[in-house]
Structure formats: structure tokens, C-alpha cells
Amino acid sequence: MSERTIELYIGPQHPGSGHMRFDITLDGDIIVKAEPSIGYVHRSVEKIAETKTYIQIAPLVERPSLADTVNPNLGYILALEKLLGIEAPPRAQYLRTLAAEANRIHSHFYGIGILGIMLGSSTAFMWAFADREIMIELLQMLTGARITYSYVIPGGVRRDLPVGFKEAAEKALRYLERRLKDYEKLFFENPVTVARLKGVGVLKKEDAIALGIVGPNLRASGVHYDVRRIEPYAAYDDLDFEVVVKKEGDSYARLMARVEEIKQSMRIIRQVLEKIPDGPILHEKYYKMIPPKTRKQIEETGRLKFPAAFATLKPPKGEALSRVEGARGEFLYYVVSDGSPRPYRFRMVSPSFRNVWLFAHLLPGHRLADIPAIYGSIDYFPPCADR
């Protein structure tokens, strides 16, 4: 501490901090040192998971990351399926993809809205939060829940496509495409937005790799890396989409990477609805366990009743590693089973936690007013990081 600098604590009670704190050292208006202080919404999902049965963990893992819930759910189920040695039938794989992509659009709108209000554009914030509702409604139609769907279950998904879903989805996508043009005029190409984001918070490719950054932030720095392509899961192998990569690595590139990912996700949803095969939505092994009378009911309504075996899932001794590309980046699960109904160790690495590095790395050298611009552009979500 010299006499020139002042220390500033931004958060956790601050309109621009979220559930975290920045310890900032300022020299005039320039940040010389920044360190994120996280953990304000930590609840130790990993420890809680050790006390729960395997099926109970499925809803647990989606709680930390509320804008993006299908992806963490799917990631965990993939690990569990690896332990159990089963794989979901093709129709279920397509439905998983559908839910994951609709959720990705929802999460990206959420992120854009937060960036909007961080920069002071209340309109972008209100619009994005209203338009995220479109995808919430769509997923509600599919899953019956609004935010925490717990849609993906071991061996399949909870519900089949409801009647009229295709038309509803097409309508929603057309609306969002129209809306994106409005956003472009008002927010993305607004001269003030551009002035605030272009060239601010530049993350170089080498640094992005060294710091292990994930998701759109990594791709906006020129690294061609998307788990959906690298290690295809669900139905991504059959689908045609582009991995959005930008070279600039600044805040504006990160914003636009998300915008373009929304467009790609729309493309995927359309393909899924086009190509989705007929068939069961639950793995045969479990489907057989359901009593015939209930099975008939399931076939009529398309809504699954869990087989009793789910309550006592006992994977054999071993380890499983799975990963999915969430909206904010890669979710990694590492589950160690000792053959009991509860995991011996449950490890969940969330994208926001791996992106924590960006605060300490990007903020120094920028102005105080750039904190919200950079914070908003990396789509950091404190509960997702704290777990």
C-alpha cells in the first residue's frame, strides 16, 4: 500500500457485484490489483452429494446454476450412466439435446441482460429477461417445470415430446430471431455499447489456454474448443452446427460469441425437431421394471413414472468422468463409487469457477468503470462458481 493507491471493496452488498466481492486497489481511476473473493453462496454440493442417493443428486446439481440447469443435470447423468454401464435410447438423446439447447438460449439471454444492466442499458436488461421467458415457457411445455427441470434421468428423459411442441418451438424461434434484430439495433450495435466493450478486457489466446478458461470466453479468444464437438454426447454427433470462434478476445467478442451461439442453438433445435427418431425414452432395462399397467399409462401420456429401482441405484465400484458444454462453459463431473447407494466422492467443477481467474487476470490496467463491463461480458454467475 502506497499513498497513491486506495483499496476499494466492491461487494457483496453492492448493486454491481452479485454474490461476491472484489478487492480492488486503485491508482487514480486505474486498477492496479484485483482479487475476487468468492464463496458467499457456497453450500458444498460435493459434501451434500455424499449423503444423498444417486438419483437425489440429479436435482441437487442443477440448483447452483439457475440459468443453465439442463446441462449440469445432463453432465451428472452421463457420469452416472458410465458407472451403471447403460446408455439412453436415441429418442431420449435427441430430447436431451433439445432441452440443453433451449436452456443454452435461455442462459445466454440471461447473460446478455446482465451485461446490459451492468453497462446501464436498462432496456437491454428488461428485453433479455422478458425474452428468456420464451425459452422457459417452451421448456415448461416439455418438462413441466420452469427453471429446475431435472429432465434428464439415468437411461433417458422424464417426458416425451408433447403434442403441438414442434409448432410452439417454431413460433418461439421465429419470434426470437425477430427480436435479435431489435437487440442488434438497440444494444449490440449501439455506439455506446461498442465504445464500452471494444478493446476492453482483452484475453489473449495463450493466456486463455494457460488459465484454463472455458466456454464462450475461451472461444472468443480464438481457441476452437467445444465439448459438443470434441467429445460428442447426446445427439450432437448427428447434428450440424458451427462452433463460434472469435479472434479478438475482448469483451465485445465475448458478447457477440454468445449472440451467435444463440443462433447456432436455434439451428440445432430445428434439426432436432426435424430428425428426432421414434422409440422409447427410457433404457429397456429400467422400462421393463415398470409395472405393465403404469407402462400403458406412460405410453398414453408420454410422462414417465420412475421405476422403483431408481431409489436404490447401486453402481459397481469404480470411477467415472464426464463433461458437457454448458452455456457458460464446460461442466466436469468426477464420481467415485464404492459400491454403496451413495457416492464415495462427488466432484463437480463448474464453468464459472474456472472463469474466476479472469477477474484477477483481466481487471488490472483497466478503469474502475470497466469492472461491470468485463464482469458482465464473461457471464460469471457466483452461485455457479461457489456451488
Binding site: P15, L119, G120, M126, W127, R367
Partner: protein
Amino acid sequence: MQVSEIISWLINLLFYKPEVFCPIFYPGLVTILALLIFIIWLERKIAAKVQLRYGPLYVTRKAGGILQLLADLLRYMFQEPIIPKTVDKIAFIAGPVLLFATAYVPAALLPATAEFTGLRSELSLLAVLALLTLAPIFDIIIGWGSNNKFSLIGSMREGYIVMSYEIPMFLSTLAIAMVYGSLNIVEIVEMQSRCWGILLNPIAAATFLLVALISTARFPFEIAEAETEIVMGPYTEYSGILYGLLMGASYVKFYVLSMLFALLFLGGWHPSITWLEKIHPAAPGLVVFIKALIIMVFGIFLRAVYPRFRVDQAIRVGWHLLFMLSMLSIAYSLAVIWLVG
């Protein structure tokens, strides 16, 4: 007899003496309070319309919630203003009061019409400008007195911004005053009966409008109070009526600058509606008010469109753009004088 005499004397004093009527009613305090309630309501309504919301609605639902702001004002009045232990008490309490007062006083000096004006002076324009420059000082004083880092940073930002817009403000007003060869607002308006100031010197008009936006913290220049950066800037520690005064002050200042813009560039009370004079001698001045209102609506609409600039970008706008523009406007005025004479 005595009582009726007193009443008629009082009515005459309050309503027909410009020295009293102007500061109290129009364009002074009463107009300002009514306008505050209306303009903040309108700001919220316009933003809500753009943002697919309703905005204020439930207080007087039939009138679109227009009394919501009155309710808010009452709440501010009766809420306890919390004064933290660590603040400089005199600066903390006197600051908002003086800030509001210095923002309001220039309004009292503005003329309502050619005959009906509170201040008769050859230098009335200069007086208004000089008083306008006082207000930011109190912004800085309350930032210092609050003893809070966010407040301090906010008032430092205010200080930097003031420095960058003040010179363009003076230069652009002087440019238009040069064209008319007068520093008397009434005379300037009278000379605009043939040609509005905005046509005589559009550069000065544009500069003045931008300055008005910057100096009253309209978007995209809402920088000293940037919420996601420094909470509420200089106003962080305030609550209750003191906070209400601070919030009101920037609107009052915006009102004064809009009125000044209407008077200097938009022809003031021209075209004058003479039959209004039968109602009240100040009534023809409503033309100025309507013009100023249009300017204010434009200003508040920007909130729905723009994010905010960074402080260095705003200062750059001040020195690189506005300063240059104001110099240009002086040159333009000289050219106009040389050509037209």
C-alpha cells in the same frame, strides 16, 4: 373592508408582481415541483413502454399512475433521513439543501414574458449562467462530507466532468449572445421574433444541448451516479428527504437548461399568443415552457436507448468534441455578424 383590501393586496403581490410571481409560481418553485412529478413519471412511463412493461400504474390507475411520484415524494418526506456517525454533519445536511437551492435559483431569474420578468438586467443571461455553475460545488462537498469511498469517487468524477463541460457551455451561450449583441435574455428573445437562434447558429445550439445532457447526468452521461460501478456516487449515503432533494436537483437543473435553450435558441415566447395575456400577464410564457418540455422529453427518452459512457470517454467528448464545437460556434457567430451585420 380591511380584510378584502388585504386580500386584494396579497393577490396583487403574489400574482401580479413579477418579482414575486416569477420565483414562486412560474417559472419558479411551483412549476418546478409539478414538473418534477410529471417528468419523472413520464420518464418511467416512456422507459416502460420501450421495455415492454407498464411502469407506474396502481396509484390513480385511471390516470396511468401519474400520482405515483406524489406518493414517492410523500414517502421521502416522512422517511427518516439516516445520518451516519462517520460523516461531516454540516456538509452532509447542508449539501443537498444548497444543491437543490442553487439548482433552483437560476429558474427564478428566467423571464416569463417580455414584460413579466423577475430580474430586469442587462446581464441576466450572465447571472443565470453564473448561478448554474454553483451547483456542482455542492456535489463535491457532499461527496467529501459523506466519508465514503464510492461517494468520493463519484464526486471526483463529477468534478472532472464539470471541468470538461463548463467552458463549452459558456462559449456556446456567448456565441449566441454575440449574434444578438446582448446579454439580456429578454432582448435576445425579442430579437428572435424574425429568426430563431437555432437557425442563426446551429452549432452553438447543438453544443448547448449536449452540455445540458452531460451536466444533468442524462444517459449516456449518467456517470457520477453509475450504479453498477459506484453504487450511487456522491449520493450513496443519503436517504429520506435529503436523497429526494439530491435526485430532484438534477431534474431542476435540466429544467433550467431546457428553458434557457428554449429562450436562446427556440424563439422563447415567439410566436406569441397575445390573447393569453387576458388570463394572466405571464400566460404567454407557457410557449417557452412547452418548448422546454419537448427538450426534456427528448432528454429523458435517451435513458431507454443508451448505456452509459465511461468517465474518460465523457471527458473526451467534453474536450475533444464540445470544446471544438463551441470554438467553432464562436467563429460561426463572427461569420454571421460579418455577413449580416
